[in-house]
Amino acid sequence: MSQTRNPFTQFQTDATQVTADDDRRSFLRSSMRGYMNTRSATQGRFIDYESARIAAGEVKWEAIENLDVYLVQFADNLEARGTKVHWCDNSEQARETILGILKDHDAKTIIKSKCMTTEEIHLNDLLSQEGYEVVESDLGEFIVQLREEAPYHFVFPAMHLKKEEINRLFQEKLKSVSTSDPEALTMIAREVLREKYIQADVGISGANFGIAETGMISITENEGNARLTTALPKVHISLMGIEKVIPRIEDLALLLPMLATAGTGQHLTCYNSQLGGPRQPGETDGPDEMHVVLLDNHRTRLLADPEQRDALRCIRCGACLNVCPIFKNVGGHTYGTTYQGPIGSVITPHLRGLKNWKHLSHSSSLCGACTETCPVKIDLHHHLLRNRRNAAERGEGGLFERMLMKGFVFVMRRPWVYRAVGWTGKIAHFLSKPIHGTRLDPFYRWKKTRDLDDPAKQSFKQYWSSRK
């Protein structure tokens, strides 16, 4: 994550680099093609997938539009069964809270299961600085942690890496034997991590949903790492954004299959666990303490936007990334954000400021593949347009762009000017031939990679007049 570089410059530079890497791009494409095939088959088994989408979307609307009610219910129900609930306004408070819990327990080693919200608050950096041993247990996260880089995709963190690269990484960092077999590599990680679960003082997880009615968190996973993270250590901390709360437990019967289908193409992921507190009387294992850290961190700012609060309904399935032609061609790191792809481009300007992150909304052809695929029907690509509008209204586009638009209106409202511009354009095109293809050419950014036909000799208007 590049904090020091200007996000727009970083985006352009990285995009240029990745788009030039044909090999990596075709690797990403083929992996996404595999996802699409599995997903289509699973989706095809639904009696009525479209209605299921609407229903899932409605459940999330109900949650978001009554968030105050459900948050209180959620927290009260958790506390009634012995979970400590911490409300945090921002990243700093969340980091301090978690650090405080670790200190209270004199913890040294921490096992983590996948949690994008901890990426959002840069928890690992802080904990390592403070001298804690923090180990990511999800295989993909474990790999990117060893590489000291951010997750590439918020569902498939290591999707950009080839098995040979992972082999080299494991040899170097884990001193393991050389193998490029995915199964053997997975088993190496399994062995290393097994001991970590047993030793860890504290387990940190995220939460895919918070159930208000019963006071539980729900975690979706495939590997079993989240189950071990929440079963073995004495203390369990779960960090979640406030928008994850849903009304009822039955909602999961709908949302979990939708999350799996859209996210990975599975009809349901391997483990979908609900946790409603530390070990209760009569139970023989599980943590002595459970903490839920609720994070705002500008989510309420997004909620205050009556158009774009829609995006808080996101269930983080990652489907919009998987179908996005921008994501597939620039890859995950280029975004420079915690949440990549279309959903990231929609929400990051709200969470981290429009001024520095508006370019993500412009870096889209507005093709709408994201909106078409979203399992809860978030109006994603139109939100990108709304971000563009907000930026334009605040004058973020700059003077040149504003003048250009004024000029555009002037011409388009006056057919005679429009015709005159057509004429002068043709003359200018003819006169400017010597500079075509050079940097002086106003169409340079187009023509660097693409041809541009000469204007038609006769406009349609002239043709029409000559016919009559």
Binding site: P325, L366, F408, W446, T449
Partner: protein
């Protein structure tokens, strides 16, 4: 388009004052400016019963986005009325006029590119294919990436040329795999992007607008 409609016995008018639907401003986020241009469009086309548009993108602008632009304005009713009269070319022929065979002839193999606005904003998928199936001598071969964006996206193509071009590169790969001689689409802007890149890469695939194909005799 005019030739085809006239051949089918329809009277075609071309309001001389027409310019642009305003999408370039709209897509850049300048909604007020887009509305000013849209005002001009509304006035120019106020007298027409049916408006045929040789572009899915422009049609989507009018049908889908004008109502959003004119929310809470007194022209909203007029706009809503207009949206029922504007048709993308293949929609006009197949859905409105019930024509799927215009008696065109073109020998060769072709693949079809679905423009995003036509496909996802308007739901156009079958109409152009039904028209093309009835073109004598033409066989249609679907490419894997027919629904993937060509990479144009208006100002996006100039602001982020590297990404835009990479997307067209994917399109070229997929179109080439079909070994089709023609790539056909219903959107001039997609065709400008695709043709611009294909021609730079010296691809033998010829890019044609649906109307050009249907006009071949």
């Amino acid at each position: 388009m005019v030739n085809i409609l006239e051949r089918l016995g329809h009277e075609v008018d071309y309001p001389q004052g027409q310019t642009c639907c305003g999408q370039p401003a709209f897509n850049s986020g300048y909604f007020n400016e887009a509305r000013e241009v849209a005002d001009h469009f509304l006035t120019t086309f106020s007298e027409c019963d049916v408006i045929g548009v040789p572009s899915g993108s422009c049609t989507a602008m009018v049908r889908k986005f004008y109502p959003e632009l004119y929310r809470e304005t007194d022209r909203l009713d007029a706009v809503q009325q207009l949206t029922t009269r504007v048709f993308e070319f293949s929609e006009l022929l197949v859905d409105k006029l019930g024509v799927t065979d215009v008696g065109a002839r073109l020998t060769g193999t072709a693949t079809y590119h679905d423009g995003c606005h036509g496909l996802r904003e308007l739901g156009i998928k079958d109409a152009p294919r039904r028209l093309l199936e009835n073109v004598e001598g033409l066989s249609l071969i679907e490419m894997d990436e027919s629904e993937s964006c060509c990479g144009f996206g208006g100002s996006f193509a100039v602001k982020f040329p590297q990404i835009s071009t990479a997307m067209t590169q994917v399109k070229l790969g997929s179109a080439s795999q079909t070994k089709a001689e023609y790539l056909i689409s219903g959107d001039p802007s997609c065709l400008m992007q695709i043709q611009g890149y294909f021609s730079r890469e010296k691809s033998p695939i010829k890019c044609l607008h649906l109307a050009e194909v249907l006009d071949c005799q």
